[in-house]
């Protein structure tokens, strides 16, 4: 999550934006700094994919939720020690002050898949890199079952707990909680909208701008949100494909256009400018649907 001050093209206006999402919004907005068109006022490690990740980030900055030491890696992507966790509270207090003075929420929703326990939402990339991969084949088998909605027996949880704690990846208590409670659920479009509205109602002082994942596999979600925005005007809506379609795919994405998860380094600035132009415009929706 970041709080970024963004300046209009003529430099006469500025908007303070709370930014929740992935590198597809963070990197383009960071690039705006190079021409003094934006200033990062606050940042905390950790990307968000689903609307539930976003709701959790708002709860964290509002101090309604605190991440336990042992779960830092799955929510912030780095350990408590790496992030100097003892200073987190102070950092979030400073973030809250700025958050309360924000004008807009730039919210990237890049997935309708939710990875969560009873109390916490996990970033799936962090779970993959910090729990499943280092855990080995037993943990991968557990995760496959979780994703497929299979039954997981007590004995399997016990074995996996021992594997994780033997490797000193997590404490036995945290490992057992994750292995027993973790679920992967997919939001229906209506359910996602309901969650967006919960977040919006909680943040009445902010204009909400939803930015969607440009990956064509999410086009059903994008079409739905685009239509809802047209009907209800509750939020502004930006589909990056309105920009991407003007360029060759090799220019847009990394790996000569093959890696659709990451914008090419030189393309980030174009996305940043596209977002900037949109938020200062009177348009409510930029969509191809």
């Amino acid at each position: 999550m970041r709080i970024i001050e963004i300046y209009s093209e003529n430099g006469e206006k500025s908007l303070k934006a709370a930014v929740i999402g992935t590198c597809r919004v963070a990197n383009p907005l960071n690039k705006l700094r190079e021409n003094n068109n934006a200033k990062v006022l606050w940042a905390h490690s950790g990307f968000a994919h689903s609307i539930h990740d976003a709701i959790q980030w708002v709860s964290l900055i509002k101090n309604k939720k605190v991440v336990p030491k042992g779960l830092y890696q799955l929510i912030f992507g780095r350990t408590f020690d790496e992030l100097k966790g003892t200073e987190t509270e102070k950092n979030f207090m400073r973030g809250l002050e700025l958050f309360n003075s924000c004008d807009i929420l730039l919210l990237e929703i890049s997935s309708n898949k939710r990875v969560h326990t009873k109390n916490f939402d996990f970033n799936s990339n962090y779970l993959n890199n910090n729990f499943i991969r280092p855990g080995g084949i037993e943990i991968l088998n557990w995760w496959s079952k979780v994703c497929k909605g299979g039954e997981i027996g007590k004995e399997e949880i016990e074995n996996c707990t021992n594997k994780i704690s033997e490797k000193k990846l997590f404490t036995k208590k945290d490992a057992k909680m994750i292995l027993s409670e973790c679920k992967m659920t997919i939001d229906e479009n209506e359910k996602m909208l309901e969650s967006i509205n919960i977040l919006k109602n909680d943040l009445e002082h902010l204009e909400c701008v939803i930015i969607v994942n440009p990956d064509p596999s999410y086009s059903d979600v994008s079409r739905f949100l685009s239509n809802e925005c047209r009907k209800n005007k509750d939020f502004k809506y930006l589909d990056p494909n309105t920009l991407i379609k003007k360029f060759k795919v090799e220019e847009v994405f990394m790996g000569k256009g093959k890696d659709k998860n990451h914008y090419d380094e030189d393309f980030n600035i174009k996305v940043g400018e596209h977002i900037r132009k949109f938020i200062f415009s009177n348009e409510r929706i930029l969509s191809d649907f």
């Binding site: 898949k113 799936s124 499943i132 080995g136 596999s217 093959k258 890696d259």
Partner: protein, 79 residues
């Protein structure tokens, strides 16, 4: 390990993670195989890693379009 062995391991991993029952051809991509979404992709790669005893950079796998690209990537990784 021969190319054919790597291909079979990749096919096996795709089947295990997606439960796809149809024919798999190396010219196919994730879009052609039901169940191969973003979460399944990572599990497929980790499973291939397990069978081949590799530790591939996950980011490099996002730039593969077809199973052929994936096979070539793992051939390079094993070298």
């Amino acid at each position: 390990m021969q190319r054919e062995d790597i291909k079979e391991i990749i096919f096996k991993s795709i089947r295990e993670e997606t439960e796809f029952g149809g024919d798999i051809d190396e010219s196919m991509s994730a879009n052609d195989i039901e169940g191969w979404d973003s979460l399944a992709h990572v599990r497929i790669i980790f499973r291939i890693d397990h069978y081949l005893n590799t530790q591939i950079d996950l980011n490099s796998t996002y730039a593969t379009e077809t199973i052929i690209d994936l096979i070539e990537l793992f051939i390079e990784e094993i070298k």
